[in-house]
């Protein structure tokens, strides 16, 4: 049986490294999804996730243990927004993620995946951050509408509608990209 977040938070407050590891393992993907929805670059999202977990650990005493996930996601979002602002100031920096996020086993597959990743991110870019967040938490991370609503402070119906809008926008944009490419070739 897995320990509840509240129990792990209690143990981590006392400096239990195993409990903190379990918290990281359990929430890292969702944290990444939230970070990516803001910064739209995998390497930046990883930096944000790192900083957010350390910040969360330092402020763990101020967290309500049974609302840990929502609290952590707020920290991730705020960190991501700050990171994104700084990033926009330094726009001349190259985007290193497309080439760097590779498994190394199959360069061709890695390249294909990098292209797909780039297309998806381009398709999500015009969406409001909240739509991207809902989309990533649901379709990438597998969270339920209720869980997303609790974490983001939204009603379940609003989450469903936001998700519907986000999917439609991404599909339209991907379809538009396909048509454009066909016309170009």
């Amino acid at each position: 049986m897995t320990e509840a977040d509240a129990v792990l938070v209690g143990r981590a407050r006392g400096g239990d490294a195993d409990a903190f590891d379990e918290i990281v393992r359990r929430h890292m993907r969702a944290a990444y999804a939230v970070a990516l929805s803001v910064v739209l670059e995998p390497a930046d999202a990883e930096d944000v996730v790192q900083d957010a977990f350390i910040s969360a650990l330092e402020r763990l005493d101020s967290c309500q243990p049974d609302r840990f996930a929502a609290w952590l996601m707020r920290i991730v979002r705020n960190r991501a927004i700050s990171h994104h602002r700084r990033r926009r100031v330094r726009q001349s920096e190259p985007l290193e993620w497309a080439g760097s996020v590779t498994s190394g086993d199959d360069p061709r597959a890695d390249l294909d995946r990098a292209r797909l990743r780039e297309r998806l991110i381009e398709a999500m870019e015009p969406l409001p951050a909240r739509q991207r967040e809902v989309l990533l938490l649901h379709d990438l991370e597998g969270w339920r509408h209720r869980e997303i609503g609790e974490a983001l402070g939204m009603k379940e119906g609003t989450v469903r509608y936001t998700l519907f809008q986000a999917r439609r926008a991404v599909r339209e944009r991907l379809g538009y990209e396909e048509t454009r490419k066909e016309e170009e070739s």
């Binding site: 981590a12 903190f20 996730v49």
Partner: protein
């Protein structure tokens, strides 16, 4: 309008498992000083906590035993020593040996005797 789940697997960070594990390891490494600080703080408080209860219990036991012992030995021995040491005369010595407060009559009698 169809509303099926989008395939966002190319964005899944765990596809690059090694990179993902490294990220977790970096978080763990950066967390170590804070975890150590918390463990240390817990250690000091825990130690104090562990000492505090037995010490308080022992102190309470000693106080209880001392009180009981004093209560048992006070009338015949301690009070006799007190009367002797301070060279107290009657009626004060009587009041102490009888372990009672003086009544109004005792005080009136004592004053009468001093005159």
């Amino acid at each position: 309008m169809k509303d099926e789940r989008l395939d966002l697997s190319p964005l899944d960070p765990v596809q690059d498992e090694l990179r993902w594990r490294r990220l977790a390891a970096r978080i763990r490494e950066r967390a170590m000083p804070e975890l150590a600080r918390r463990a240390g703080r817990e250690g000091v408080l825990g130690t104090l906590g562990h000492w505090a209860w037995p010490t308080a219990a022992a102190a309470a036991l000693v106080a209880l035993m001392s009180g009981s012992a004093l209560a048992l030995i006070r009338p015949p021995e301690v009070m006799a020593h007190v009367v002797q040491a301070f060279d107290l005369e009657a009626p004060v010595s009587v009041w102490l040996l009888e372990d009672r407060a003086p009544t109004t009559d005792d005080l009136a009698l004592a004053l009468e005797r001093d005159r």
